[in-house]
Symmetry: D2
């Protein structure tokens, strides 16, 4: 079983709803899911500190990043979390994990791509593999905002119960499912029967890692 962590910041609760949708999709595909909210209390003078949260990410096969788009990029609180991963970067601790992302803001486009691009750049610094969305846009339906690199959701002043809307949350679920399935495939979760057939054989994963 793969472990998928969803680590996100949410200011007004809209991104939290999207995070739940993404987590729901991942769980429905059989992954163990951690839903980790970045909290302001963990940020002092712009620096994030929460060893337990980071340790959960260390133990994950895939990490899905989420943030509202504020002023054209991820929220400062998300960035504080990202900046706190420098030691893990240096130790290559997250290398070869899967990464993905989602963001929410008021307009249909609204520079949300800029936030997804940042998530991508951040994950590349960590040598993760990026998994985007695989949904051709459907007007008013799944991926109605037509995003590819990750999930976009829309929320203006409505209550978080209402926005992002159902279609946006289905889009989030789709990404969660996709990441969970990719983590399963990438990490070769062998059944007991398959494992017996393989007794005495190093796992392909180990071989690949040893060779790399």
């Amino acid at each position: 079983m793969s472990t998928v962590s969803v680590v996100y910041f949410s200011g007004s609760g809209h991104t939290a709803k999207m995070a739940e949708a993404v987590a729901k999709g991942a769980a429905a595909s059989g992954a163990k899911v951690n839903l980790l909210r970045i909290r302001g209390e963990d940020i002092t003078q712009g620096r994030y500190e929460n060893d337990a949260a980071l340790a959960q990410l260390d133990a994950s096969d895939a990490i899905i990043f989420g943030s509202p788009t504020y002023m054209g990029g991820p929220a400062a609180q998300f960035k504080a979390f990202a900046d706190a991963t420098g030691e893990r970067w240096y130790m290559r601790k997250w290398a070869d994990k899967l990464a993905a992302g989602f963001t929410v803001s008021g307009g249909p486009s609204g520079d949300k791509l800029s936030t997804l691009q940042y998530f991508f750049t951040f994950s590349m610094q960590h040598a993760m593999l990026w998994v985007g969305l695989n949904e051709l846009p459907a007007e008013e339906g799944i991926n109605r905002l037509s995003s590819y690199s990750g999930v976009m959701g829309q929320a203006r002043q409505e209550e978080p119960e209402v926005a992002p809307n159902g279609a946006d949350k289905l889009t989030g679920e789709s990404l969660g499912r996709r990441v969970a399935q990719a983590a399963q495939r990438w990490n070769q979760p062998l059944s007991t029967r398959e494992k017996q057939a393989w007794s005495g054989v190093r796992s392909i994963k180990d071989e690949v890692l040893a060779a790399s």
Copy 2:
């Protein structure tokens, strides 16, 4: 006389050195320069608050943004500052000001472009006009790292007195000069003699603004 503000975050002091170089260039071109450092003390739970600093930016003709590149983007502390400008965004307070940017990190490339791209996106949310660098790269000389959208400086573990190096700081000065001259041109700084010739005439700036 135009007012150019340089607003930046610096963690280890290297970006501060670049900020000083940019300020020096702007001052040498006759601008009044504000050098504003974003400080961790002004950030609580990821939120920046410093009314005096923001008021100085409100009163500026041009704002030059600076930050180290941390984990593929601007430092969280810079982002906290950016996120604190939402009301100004809504009020269009910074519209038509000039914007520019600089960043410092350890490698020659090192995703520094990503930080400059964020500064650009941020300034576009504010409807500012972006002014890049105008220096063809010279090996080991000005713009040795070959950047166009803004200034890139390099600093590893060296002391801030040593890195960014002299060439990088000259590049910073070049941007400062360019922005100051552009602010002068954009805001039509008329000499006393020219002002007398114009007595009784609304400034072209007012006319343009009235028409817009």
Copy 3:
């Protein structure tokens, strides 16, 4: 009077409609407008050649770039045009001109920001100044797609007469007006009376350029 050129590629005619809207806005603000379509006939083996078109751009105060978003970026035909400006880049011929951009594709978001980002990067290589849109998004109205760096228009399989729709075209007009007014301000179009007052005085523009 300022000269604003709109240089664009259009495959199916939708981007051409947006180009006309941008041109209309610029003309309404008193600019002389060149509407230049990049044509496949001018591209041989991926290389664009049209000296007359490039000479018109050389003589412009502002250049507005336009292209559909194809496969996540500007059309190859636009890129062929961009690649043909290398000599101008080296000679710094377009330095200090104003730049802006617009793009059209099928979805609300659809990686259109990626195309605008390319236009920006391209203009920075030329040391141009970038002018974005100054319109807070209005649901179903001007800037309904919520773009800041430039104009986004939407067109699926509809006829070019229908899409981009009226709101999108008004957004294009807004950018055209803004660029024309910025060009006027940037280039100080003095009235005859003002020119007489200045007789014997070098234009501020020349002074600024001489000093830079």
Copy 4:
């Protein structure tokens, strides 16, 4: 055995040298490698046509994109190739393949990141998974230019035999190896003996795909 294709454009031969290094790395990891050069002859009026080349990519497990950075982005010839994949995009033909990229230009930074970002955006439109570089930068050594999203190489006016230099080409080899190993892991290349042990068992890959 996985099939890795390297599809690239090269104007002056420098990017071709990098393509060969990437291919060498992939082959050394046991992949079958296709080295496909995008040729101007296949581009008419900005449109690329080469069914055989596209069919080879259809049959690949991973595709590595390469282009010089011209005027801040991929060469028009590369973009023409990208634009020719629209039908494959609609049919989701390249979904779940691995993607990676490399670029070469004259300066250390020089907007090369912009080209890698385009490759990423393009691959996301196709729902591919992006694999970056996993090499912490070493001064004068592997990844000396400090890139993460893909490989950067540097070449000015030198002969292609000389630039990109040895360190840059080793960086290219590193990406080739990484992509080949990732393709092997992602596609579970079972040995004959393993296949016998599995007789009667659907491959995990099929299950994952069936579930997705």
